[in-house]
Subunit: 265 residues, 2 copies
Amino acid sequence: MAKYERIADDLRRMITTGELPAGDRLPSETELTAQYRVSLPTLRQALSVLRAEGLIEARHGIGTYVRTPKQRVKRTPERYHEEKKRVHLPEEQRQRQGAVEDDTGLSFDDIEFSAEFDTEPASDTLAAAFEVPVGTPLLCRTYSARSTHEDKPLHLIHSYLVRDVAAQNPDLLDAANETPTPWPGGTQHQLSTIGIEIATIVEHVTARPPTTAETELLEMSDGTSLICIRKVSTDTKGKTVEVSDIFLPGDRTELVYTTKLEPWA
Amino acid sequence: MAKYERIADDLRRMITTGELPAGDRLPSETELTAQYRVSLPTLRQALSVLRAEGLIEARHGIGTYVRTPKQRVKRTPERYHEEKKRVHLPEEQRQRQGAVEDDTGLSFDDIEFSAEFDTEPASDTLAAAFEVPVGTPLLCRTYSARSTHEDKPLHLIHSYLVRDVAAQNPDLLDAANETPTPWPGGTQHQLSTIGIEIATIVEHVTARPPTTAETELLEMSDGTSLICIRKVSTDTKGKTVEVSDIFLPGDRTELVYTTKLEPWA
DNA sequence: GAGTGGTCTAGACCACTGT
DNA sequence: CAGTGGTCTAGACCACTCC
């Protein structure tokens, strides 16, 4: 077994048994090289393993610390039921309760919101989902949200609509209607303005390491995973009307799905 | 910007644009050091970034390759409905169709199954879930499955039951009844033998990098995430009767959850 | 045996943080 | 300023794979 693996195993054991409690500072790199009788690069390789596993966190100029688990924001499909119920409420009520607030438990005023609109030709997979030719213009809306109290983004969303369909209500094409506050009532209300009722939402959940760009956008630390949800919304006739890619920081998110089974006769 | 970041960015661009297609071999490390005019450790740092992102894969003694995306096994809560329906079928039918087969589309004979039973004192979180005192003996059952055709495990599961409850049917305590083939009809049938009917299943989904031990157990490669599902099953009276921790390789799994919304009046 | 990636060393300098 | 982690070098040897 390699030296760096032995060191990583030893430190991991100390962390998981609580010998090195969460939040504690590890000895400095030079101290650890002396302790384990290895060169600095070798020691750093051991630390990089633990960093990749999310066990420790290095703070430049300060020290290396045992990471403390983050409070997780729960996200359930209940939000979609609530969003649908809100569609026919008066605007004032729609405005005060949005989907983001459902998830986070934060109030409307605590959330910083940003939206950016763009038009893109449909890729293979998106064209297939919408059942339109590849290259069909899609309205691509990019949303992000962050709490004003906490320092990190809550999510990053790319939402796709067929542009010609969305254009039936020109207000839907203008990002200005979602800046600085989101459209009151969310996407389901937006679609209702062009006669669309969402009947089914399917979420496809995957997870992978973030790219460096995603790490920066979501301000994720090393040793965390990115949860990706492809959300496909279909109307009452079974036609796909919206596709969203939702990116969530894996160390701060928990998805909750409830299945109710039919009772035996 | 650091040299290794420039190199990683350059190679990442070539991969994502298709200039370096999936499956292609990268130039050798010595070639790349010459090309980018850097030392070997610096170049290797650049490659380690891309490996952590899951973009490339090094094969010792052969070369470094652009990774090809894996076929994902879909997993939906539909399995739980099917499992419940099967409980009252005759054993022969139960045996030929198990939950693992539902997920993978593989037939009964293509799956290699292993089970190991153990008794553990309840931890804080498990005790809270079962509403029993901390330290109460729990039956901990560890399952894993792999396809006989493919080479990698499909999942790793720890299933917990209160030991005294399970002991009402001594067959449930004996791993021999699940080796080499799983209990016909799965956990829901097992619980039915002691008068328990599952009414609700809640899945809590999180994702994180695997530890080195988990990487080995599930034969995951670098640059992949671990999907963790804590599955809590409650009976018709709302009592928690089973808790499972399900671990899935993030690069080979897709979770699919469908939400049907109530129509507007 | 030739070529590949994996490990390790000793030492240097830089960048960040706190005092 | 001192102490910390971040980057980089030149060079060595090992382990694996293929011919």
